[in-house]
């Protein structure tokens, strides 16, 4: 995209480790298909992950494996969205070596909403505003030290955000 030296060298190493883990756990077709997307993710827009319908498929496409819930991931989202078109959602974590953070809304037409790359020196805190089609779980994935951690919260939506 640019000729700038990016700050993702460390991330790349973790990715390679991650890719190895996938082959070991034997996710079969998906791992062949998805691992390269993941490895290239620092340079390339993860088109396939954004096309997946379900949160699980999007996470698989993006990272090639599943996440474990962690109370070190703090997800801040409203109980009831004032309007599904604009739902302020933020995340922070005490985990170290965070390399990326992803936001998903389980019942959206495509679950994956946003992925943020966190190079070394950038804090693992992100706030953004997302659309939600209806009441569902917001899932946030924090990639840290090559592992995936998640937090989930249900947000009630009475006016859907698909009109946005």
């Amino acid at each position: 995209m640019t000729t700038i030296h990016d700050g993702f060298a460390a991330t790349r190493r973790l990715i390679l480790k991650g890719a190895g883990a996938i082959t070991l756990t034997g996710l079969g077709v998906i791992s062949f298909n998805m691992a390269p997307v993941f490895a290239a993710a620092n340079d390339k827009y993860p088109e396939e992950a954004f096309k997946q319908k379900s949160a699980a498929d999007a996470i698989k496409s993006l990272y090639g494996r599943t996440a474990e819930a962690s109370d070190k991931v703090k997800l801040d989202a409203p109980e009831i969205a004032e309007n599904g078109a604009v739902v302020p959602i933020s995340v922070s974590t005490t985990l170290t070596e965070v390399t990326s953070i992803a936001f998903l809304a389980s019942e959206n037409p495509n679950a994956l909403a946003a992925v943020y790359r966190i190079p070394p020196g950038t804090m693992p805190n992100v706030a953004n505003r997302l659309k939600m089609a209806k009441t569902c779980d917001v899932v946030v994935i924090v990639e840290a030290g090559g592992k995936l951690y998640s937090a989930t919260k249900e947000v009630k939506v009475t006016v859907g955000g698909c009109g946005g």
Binding site: F50, P119, K131, G164
Partner: protein
């Protein structure tokens, strides 16, 4: 025309907090217009923040990011008066960029 990008980058000495608001429809492709025709998807895919020759934050977005999108993050370093370069590109190949001074 004025930039589509509004930035607030404030340094507290050790940490620079960055907030950005971008004027963009972020059409999802799931919405119909008044005539009942689908409004084709039109959304920012990548938003990049560059400081001191390196990326400090990269956002990859799908259609579920709200209209006139907003994001906030912070990074270590950054001095008052330094440049922060922000650029975006959408699925139609449109782009915009701006350079903001850290305050």
């Amino acid at each position: 025309m004025a930039s589509t990008i509004r930035v607030r980058a404030i340094s507290s000495g050790e940490i620079t907090e960055v907030q950005v608001l971008i004027q963009h429809p972020m059409d999802s492709g799931f919405v119909k217009d008044a005539k009942g025709e689908i409004i084709p998807p039109h959304f920012i895919q990548r938003l990049t923040f560059e400081y001191d020759g390196r990326n400090v934050f990269v956002a990859d977005w799908g259609t579920a990011v709200s209209k006139d999108p907003y994001v906030k993050f912070s990074f270590r370093g950054g001095n008052k008066g330094d440049d922060l370069k922000i650029s975006w590109a959408d699925n139609k190949g449109e782009t915009d960029a701006t350079t903001a001074k850290i305050q």
